[in-house]
């Protein structure tokens, strides 16, 4: 079917492997995503905390630099599990905003323009479609969360020595798993909202709502019932607990209530406020992911069938 020939001819060249075709979607999507200068600038800003983190790690091991800055190494933040946990939480915040900007239009745009039959009439399944759309978010978010953290962990290991690396090897698991859980949750939620709501602005609002409305509700429950079980509905709190659990810094007691004698105003009892147990946090996150997958399976179809 050459331009000058103007006739219809079949294609019989080589074909790409079927397993790799879902990656076509992110490759084409990034062209549109990075077309926006505003988004590109924001994405660059996402790397600034990582730069700070790199500098901190470097300073710990550079005596000349410390002497020049007249800083004692003890005054610097120690490079330990809490250090990496803090930065993975900071990057998690940036990842949320990246997902908020990129996620909502991904599926909704296809639904609005009836594009799904065009994808699904090809050797390309619904699973591959969802995987492809999720890859757009997964790759973008991984690049600003657990991948650089892992590289910085290796950087720290290189500077500190093999003993430190061997002693903190478990942190690789915490960094990767903590990052992947957050990124996966964001990808699933943004895709689900995108599949349910056809309009981008409403989808973005809904995604914000999913995170903030339950958090406010949870805080209200905590306050009224003097508990921490309200956090079970707050995705942010759940992720924070899970990450802390992975880094070994999770403590169930996160506060206390002092019960005073009304007559003497003396504290007669101290009731500790307990966060939901880790297994409960994992279970709720798992449940949210399962619901998202079920909704995606329901919505991502070539055509809606009216029964």
């Amino acid at each position: 079917m050459a331009v000058y020939e103007q006739t219809y001819k079949r294609y019989a060249g080589t074909l790409t492997p079927e397993w790799s075709r879902f990656l076509i979607i992110p490759r084409h999507a990034y062209r549109a995503v990075f077309n926006s200068k505003l988004f590109t600038a924001f994405y660059v800003v996402c790397f600034l905390p990582l730069l700070v983190e790199t500098i901190l790690i470097y300073l710990h091991h550079n005596v000349t630099a410390l002497a020049l800055m007249q800083v004692n190494v003890r005054e610097l933040i120690p490079i330990d599990a809490f250090f990496f946990q803090t930065f993975i939480n900071i990057q998690g915040g940036f990842a949320f905003f990246v997902a908020l900007l990129v996620g909502p239009p991904l599926v909704s745009r296809d639904l609005r323009n009836n594009a799904l039959p065009l994808y699904l009439c090809r050797p390309f399944s619904r699973t591959e479609y969802v995987l492809g759309k999720m890859s757009v978010i997964l790759i973008l978010l991984s690049v600003v969360t657990w991948v650089p953290q892992l590289l910085l962990f290796l950087f720290q290991s290189y500077l500190e020595g093999f003993t430190w690396f061997r002693a903190n090897l478990w942190m690789i698991n915490a960094i990767v798993l903590g990052g992947v859980v957050w990124v996966l949750l964001l990808a699933l939620l943004s895709q689900t909202v995108s599949a349910l709501v056809k309009w981008r602005v409403i989808a973005s609002g809904a995604l914000l709502g999913i995170f903030f409305i339950p958090t406010v509700f949870g805080a209200f429950v905590n306050e009224v019932f003097r508990t921490r079980w309200g956090n079970i509905v707050s995705l942010g709190a759940l992720i924070k607990n899970v990450t802390a659990g992975l880094f070994g810094t999770f403590e169930r007691v996160s506060g206390e209530i002092q019960i005073r004698d009304p007559a003497t105003d003396l504290v007669v009892q101290i009731v500790p406020l307990l966060e939901p147990p880790l297994w409960a946090s994992w279970a709720v996150l798992f449940l949210v992911c399962a619901v998202c997958l079920a909704l995606l399976s329901w919505k991502v179809k070539a055509y809606e069938v009216v029964r």
Partner: protein
């Protein structure tokens, strides 16, 4: 821009009987909930261009969607080029192209980017996909507009872009669902011309679903008429027209009155449309040579004798009145 080593050069041959049918329906049924849409469809469709006709709600689009794997059959199955639509869905999808009825595109993309993406999803490597995207857009007549965003296209241009994405990977079977919907007369003619060109290239079979009989008449050699989810007629259009040989148009010169009386004696129905023209329906056992004999006996000249060919509209209306059958 040519694809010398990668294209089939084979010429079209009608699907021989010993080869798998283009579409083979084995009691295919589809139901949405408890509502049956397609009811036990059976038959081998072997045509080069098959027209899919039927009134609204007859099941045309559902049949196409089921063959594309969008709806699971509730009973029975179908095969496309010998591959089962359930067991070999991916293999089938690599052989077919689909132009949906409704407006369908990917927003914020130029036409060439859109068609290239569709080609890549069909399995073409990136470079080949880009090359064929350009070629397909030139072929459908959107060469000059290929760098424009799809949202800026007119309805006619969008239809052509949909056709381009359906043919970019060079499928063996192309499903066209109402391809002339909403087109103005010149755009419609252009679309019909393209469909006929693809058909005549012999490189692909076409299934054309349309409610416009004239579109089907111009493009298709076989028709499948659906009614209430069942096959009302499946026939070769030309053969069906020829088979109705009992209805004659005559032009006579001479004593017409004497001639029609003789025809009536043979038991044939007739109608006089003018001084010299007659319409005659031959009865069982009466042949054309009997009319010649009558003409000699009554001393009239037969200046013209022709069979009335059924138009597609006649076939369609007959199918709607008569019920099911034809296969």
């Amino acid at each position: 821009m040519a694809l010398p080593a990668t294209v089939h050069e084979e010429t079209f041959k009608p699907q021989p009987v010993d080869e798998p049918a283009v579409i083979d329906l084995h009691g295919l049924s589809v139901a949405f909930g408890k509502r049956p849409i397609l009811k036990s469809l059976r038959g081998d469709l072997r045509g080069r261009a098959i027209g899919l006709l039927g009134p609204n709600g007859a099941g045309k689009t559902t049949l196409i969607h089921t063959l594309l794997g969008f709806h699971p059959p509730s009973a029975g199955t179908a095969q496309i080029f010998g591959y089962d639509i359930v067991d070999h869905a991916n293999k089938i999808k690599s052989l077919i192209g689909y132009m949906p009825e409704r407006d369908a595109f990917i927003a914020k993309m130029t036409a060439v980017h859109f068609v290239r993406l569709m080609a890549e999803l069909s399995g073409l490597p990136s470079e080949a996909a880009l090359e064929r995207a350009h070629e397909a857009l030139f072929y459908v007549g959107l060469g000059e507009a290929r760098y424009r965003k799809l949202e800026t296209y007119s309805l006619g241009m969008k239809q052509l872009a949909k056709l381009a994405q359906a043919i970019v990977h060079g499928p063996k079977l192309i499903f066209l669902d109402e391809p002339t919907n909403g087109l103005d007369p010149p755009a419609r003619l252009r679309m019909i011309k393209l469909i006929r060109e693809i058909r005549d290239s012999g490189q692909a079979h076409i299934v054309l679903s349309s409610h416009l009989l004239v579109d089907v008449e111009e493009c298709c050699d076989e028709i499948l008429i659906l009614r209430d989810g069942q096959i009302a007629v499946y026939c070769n259009l030309e053969e069906e027209r020829k088979s109705n040989r009992k209805f004659l148009m005559l032009e006579v010169r001479g004593d017409q009155k004497k001639f029609v009386e003789a025809i009536a004696k043979l038991g044939c129905e007739y109608a006089i449309s003018s001084d010299s023209r007659l319409k005659v329906v031959l009865q069982e056992g009466v042949e054309v040579r009997d009319l010649y004999q009558l003409a000699v006996e009554t001393q009239v000249q037969l200046r013209r004798l022709s069979y009335k060919r059924d138009s597609l509209e006649d076939i369609f209306l007959k199918a709607m009145e008569n019920g099911y059958g034809g296969l």
